[in-house]
């Protein structure tokens, strides 16, 4: 090869490489996780909460046949709303978007949904008075990254020298994670915080979380939802999976995604045939999910602070008007864990309301009862197909979420906020992530 020949050849090769159409190169690498995977089967989704709805949305977008079986008379799971109680709609379940670096943040941007930053001020009920600051920063110990033992919030606070006067504050902090302070693990909570990537700012929807999910996700799959269908048995012993409901109707599918709350799995309300392994049921048992309720209290005047943490009856109160457009004065009592259990035990909505008014009267010198108009109690604990607030990590949790979420026999897949082991459990977007994760797992299970 002479020099001229080489130069000509190398120039041609270089030009060829430079001009090689990107489309040709791109054709060699798939852009999406589902390319080249053919699946002509049917998928049954148990539960029409955020995870189930989103799994359905993904399946529809991939042209895969599916059906969603929902036990209750409405879809949305722990996302819901009520109109008419105030002159703005109220979120009965999930309310805050915790950070916007998540899939729903993208959907919000794309759909130009209006959200507002909740930067309301935090106050504490401490030593029988309302204060903006505590003598010692107890919240900081739950954000510490090292030397945190696997003990409960309650025990950890005591170990760190916080006395009984902080007990209700600790309960309020634990309640933010949907748990009783005596049950949630300080160690695992901090591990989860380390994986948290969505951001620390909280946002509220100008409308409701439900409207957002309904318009943008549920609308895509509504025609495939069968309400009032209580699944009682999932038989995966044969090549197809046979699902039986409480009326003995059967549904056959190739794959099933179970998205019910972990309380339902823990209670064994769904019989699996063959039975799930002990390891699996132990994992369900380790995932905590405590009682939880939201009580909306309507007043003739806003005598209260924007947020009050540390009540003995209710760990956290929040002004509902933040981020909304309206003129009614509604205070949300956000009650979790043992406090929710105690209030539930009172047996009636009026008794629950009275207990809360009594506490607010103590805080605000009788102004609560004097200006009280009405209340709306949303008790998720007594909801037959929810039975709690949202999942949290118990002491000794380990990798229970990951174990619980593992598919069974390439036929049964688990989704829902409790099955999110990437730090985003307790959130709607965390549930959504598990919805699409399990569709990916289904497609991977049929990959040849």
């Amino acid at each position: 090869m002479n020099r001229r020949h080489f130069l000509r050849q190398s120039a041609l090769i270089s030009a060829g490489a430079l001009l090689l159409p990107p489309a040709l190169l791109e054709a060699c690498r798939k852009k999406s996780a589902d390319e080249d995977i053919g699946f002509g089967g049917k998928v049954l989704i148990i539960g029409a909460g955020a995870a189930g709805l989103y799994a359905g949305y993904i399946l529809r977008s991939k042209g895969i046949d599916f059906e969603i079986l929902e036990a209750s008379s409405a879809y949305g799971g722990r996302v819901g709303k009520i109109n008419g109680f105030a002159d703005f709609p109220l979120d009965t379940g999930a309310q805050w978007l915790h950070g916007k670096n998540n899939i729903l943040g993208d959907l919000i941007a794309k759909t130009q949904t209006e959200i507002t930053l909740d930067d309301s001020a935090e106050f504490f009920w401490f030593n029988n008075q309302i204060t903006g600051t505590l003598p010692d920063d107890i919240e900081a110990i739950f954000l510490r990254e090292d030397n945190v033992p696997d003990v409960s919030f309650k025990d950890f606070a005591v170990q760190e020298g916080f006395g009984n006067e902080y007990a209700d504050i600790v309960e309020g902090i634990a309640g933010d994670s949907g748990a009783a302070a005596s049950r949630i693990s300080a160690y695992w909570k901090i591990q989860e915080e380390a994986a948290w990537n969505s951001g620390d700012d909280d946002f509220k929807f100008r409308g409701t979380y439900f409207d957002f999910i309904d318009t943008n996700i549920a609308a895509q799959v509504k025609d495939r939802i069968q309400l009032n269908t209580i699944v009682s048995k999932i038989d995966y012993s044969q090549s197809s999976v046979v699902v039986t409901d409480s009326n003995n109707n059967t549904y056959t599918a190739d794959k099933v995604i179970v998205t019910v709350p972990v309380t339902i799995l823990k209670a064994g309300d769904i019989e699996f045939v063959p039975a799930l392994t002990q390891e699996k049921t132990d994992a369900f048992a380790k995932i905590g999910m405590d009682a939880g309720m939201k009580v909306f209290l309507k007043f003739s005047s806003a005598f209260y602070h924007q947020n009050i943490i540390g009540g003995n009856t209710c760990g956290a109160y929040a002004d509902e008007i933040i981020g909304k457009t309206g003129s009614d004065h509604v205070l949300l009592a956000f009650i979790m864990g043992e406090q929710a259990e105690r209030l539930t035990a009172l047996g009636s909505d009026s008794a629950i309301t009275s207990a809360l008014l009594q506490e607010l009267d103590t805080m605000y010198s009788g102004q609560a009862t004097a200006s009280f108009i009405g209340s709306q109690v949303i008790n998720w604990t007594t909801h037959p197909f929810i039975r709690g607030a949202y999942s949290y990590s118990t002491v000794g949790m380990g990798n229970a979420r990951e174990t619980a979420a593992q598919p069974v026999d390439k036929k049964i897949f688990f989704a829902g906020e409790a099955m999110n082991y990437n730090g985003n459990h307790q959130t709607v977007f965390g549930a959504v992530e598990t919805g699409y994760r399990e569709v990916i797992n289904i497609l991977n299970s049929v990959k040849k």
Partner: protein, 225 residues
Amino acid sequence: MKKLIAAFVLLLFCRCSFALENKLELSYTYLYSGQWDKAIQAYNFSRPFLANQQPLFMNGLNASASHIFKPHKVFSYGITVSYLYFRSSVKNENFLNTLNLHFADIGWLVHFENTEKPDGFYSELAFSAVSSGLFRTVNRKSFRYDGARAKAFGIGGDIHLKAGYEFSAKNNFFISPFAALGYTPFLFSPNTEGVINQTTGLTGRRWTGIVQVQAGIALHWKKET
């Protein structure tokens, strides 16, 4: 770190008195990164509300400069710095999502050419430290949350093998087409998935291997001493 940089600069200037070749390169770079592909694939899979899919990091530009100390030996040595840029951008209704990926390398190279019987061919083997930065913009604005820009930084090591053929253009000025193959066995960039797919540990590992294929043109200035 400051001491290390000072020592490097001192070495560079001290050896400049013996410097015989400087080289500037511009090349097209084809990139393959398994973990980042997975993150983008998951992003595309999981967002059916975005009709147009996010491209993979694939086609980029590389600019590099090398300084070779003894090119009249069969084996000579030098230092090299380079910058690579990749962009993944897609427009959907109300949503223009762009990922900008930058690499900066600094390394040491072995240059081989037959100085006994010059035939124009040369080859190089370079070992570099790599740093990377990934940033996201949405609708042409930096994507920010909690008051900070969404970002993922990475660090790793790279090995590059390059072959070219130089021909004289004018006096001590040479031009060479070249092709190169680069391999980064380990680039630790823990937040990359967090920027691309907005998740942590869902799509893959916190580190990736990278393969690069490059083709481009180098300009050489040779100085006799």
